[in-house]
Subunit: 311 residues, 2 copies
């Protein structure tokens, strides 16, 4: 089969920025789909992953606010599954419309995805990701006395539950996902970084897995030709936002590791994307990873664009 096998990771913030209505989110997803089909038209075979940060945060808040004995809030793993459902539906629906508009006859599949994590991952000892409503210190202390849940004071705004962010060790459905893409079916997978389950026993846990790391792991498992991580900027920069900023076009993992030492990349923002790209190219030295913007993706049709990470 011709065409590159590409794993493309979309940011959750690209879908939900200001307006959280379904209508506004779907409009953003439709704009994304119109860009992605340009690659499909060229013959590339896509596996599309996406973040869910704002969406799962909003859902979890609604669930907690409206919870009752008769209608209890769902735990975080189930909430992640729900956002894989909603965002996956929006993406598939938008892709099908964009394919039709471009007279492309392709099927699209959204695969519910479980990401395997290790119960011994040190992240479980130090939860870092705040989720859910803001509580007073007193309320948080009551909650902590009743459960293993940890709370932290969040930037002066109140106390929030924190959950761990363990590293992915595998994607349970990678063989199914590969079977689909090998049949030239556009596949949406590992939404929100996947539903975290402990590898030994497949027990769902209240945790979140970084979607860039999960996408990287999937790209390894399906032996993708290319891992593309989309972000808000067309390229990675050194000294970003300063007068002496330098655009990176092609960069080796050794160079990037030096820049990480030099604290060039923002934690929780560009840094995990860089780390995921490095991990992929280390695992697959003949492959490349690209970090660029959604707006620039059409240029991928002609080869490489954005910041290209090589061994």
């Amino acid at each position: 089969m011709s065409g590159r096998k590409i794993v493309i990771a979309l940011g959750g913030n690209a879908i939900l920025s200001g307006d959280a209505s379904a209508k506004a989110q779907r409009a953003a997803v439709e704009a994304t789909a119109n860009q992605l089909v340009k690659l499909v038209a060229k013959g590339d075979r896509l596996i599309i992953s996406h973040g869910n940060g704002p969406q799962v945060g909003n859902l979890y808040l609604q669930q907690e606010a409206a919870a009752s004995l008769k209608n209890p809030a769902m735990p975080l793993d189930t909430c992640v599954a729900m956002t894989q459902g909603s965002i996956g539906y929006w993406l598939e629906n938008a892709l099908l419309k964009a394919l039709k508009a471009n007279q492309l006859e392709k099927e699209v599949a959204v695969i519910m995805s479980q990401v395997l994590v290790d119960s011994a991952d040190p992240a479980f000892q130090t939860p870092t990701k705040p989720i859910g409503p803001f509580l007073t210190q007193a309320e948080a202390k009551v909650e902590m006395a009743h459960s293993d849940t940890q709370f932290i004071e969040d930037a002066g705004r109140g106390w929030r539950k924190v959950v761990p962010s363990p590293k992915p060790i595998s994607i349970r459905e990678h063989r199914v996902i590969n079977a689909l893409v090998e049949q030239d079916i556009i596949t949406v997978a590992v939404g929100g970084g996947g539903i975290p389950v402990i590898a030994d026993g497949l027990v769902g846990v209240e945790a979140v897995v970084d979607k860039d790391f999960a996408s990287e792991k999937l790209a390894e498992l399906v032996d993708a030709d290319l891992l593309v991580i989309l972000t808000g900027v067309q390229n990675v920069y050194l000294n970003y936002g300063q007068d002496n900023q330098v655009k990176l076009e092609q960069v080796t993992i050794q160079e990037l590791e030096q820049h990480i030492q030099g604290n060039q990349f923002a934690k929780g923002s560009m840094l995990p994307k860089i780390e995921a790209a490095i991990e992929y190219v280390k695992a697959k030295p003949k492959r490349k990873a690209i970090i660029t913007s959604l707006e620039n993706i059409a240029n991928l049709v002609n080869g490489e664009t954005g910041t290209v990470i090589v061994a």
Copy 2:
């Protein structure tokens, strides 16, 4: 490939009866999975569909109760997608555990599914399915004045929004679903009857499609050997619950149509299952449909059981 290709429709009430917590629903799903793997062990290839009535009702209530300008409630099509995500995850996770316990190496895939409906379906003129919170008559009138939404007085308990229940004309993902089952991958699909979208243009609508009709349509499209509709009783009965009740074992569609004329089957309960079974056998006269209970499903391993509907 050996083994029957079977579409099995599970009731949403089989997953959520009393306790709506994720823990209780997952326990019910695990019991179901333990039954279903008995068929897998025998070599049958399963496509599993499920209802979502109680789950989408609860989610919609939570969404409406907690909605704000910043965190608005999602429309019904997106809520259906969310329950495909949550129930699909629970089912896949439970099936994988049950497969492992039985030393069966199989993959499981949950496919987000859109059900195509006709905008000219008469159901859109007369919405019948009540959903969401109970309002006062005054509140309902305000809502009706502001939108096309219809409300009805629901059995003395208040006014509720009603949505149409159109007939399915196709399942958008049927080729993907068939490709998976043909590779011997256990596939969960058309959850909650599918996410209803207008066939012309794939526009999501606030509607619910009966899961038995959607499962029947899918069984036709993938050319299943057997359609199994699970319910609370082992067999269909005439004069059900009366002294002179008669158990149906093998029954023709002609006989069933006479019993429908005689008002033998409860609307919204056994009737749609009977109608779906008839529709399947009419479309595929060499095939059979079975209506039975989950508890009885292990007997399907040995051939036919429950009430068997034939041409």
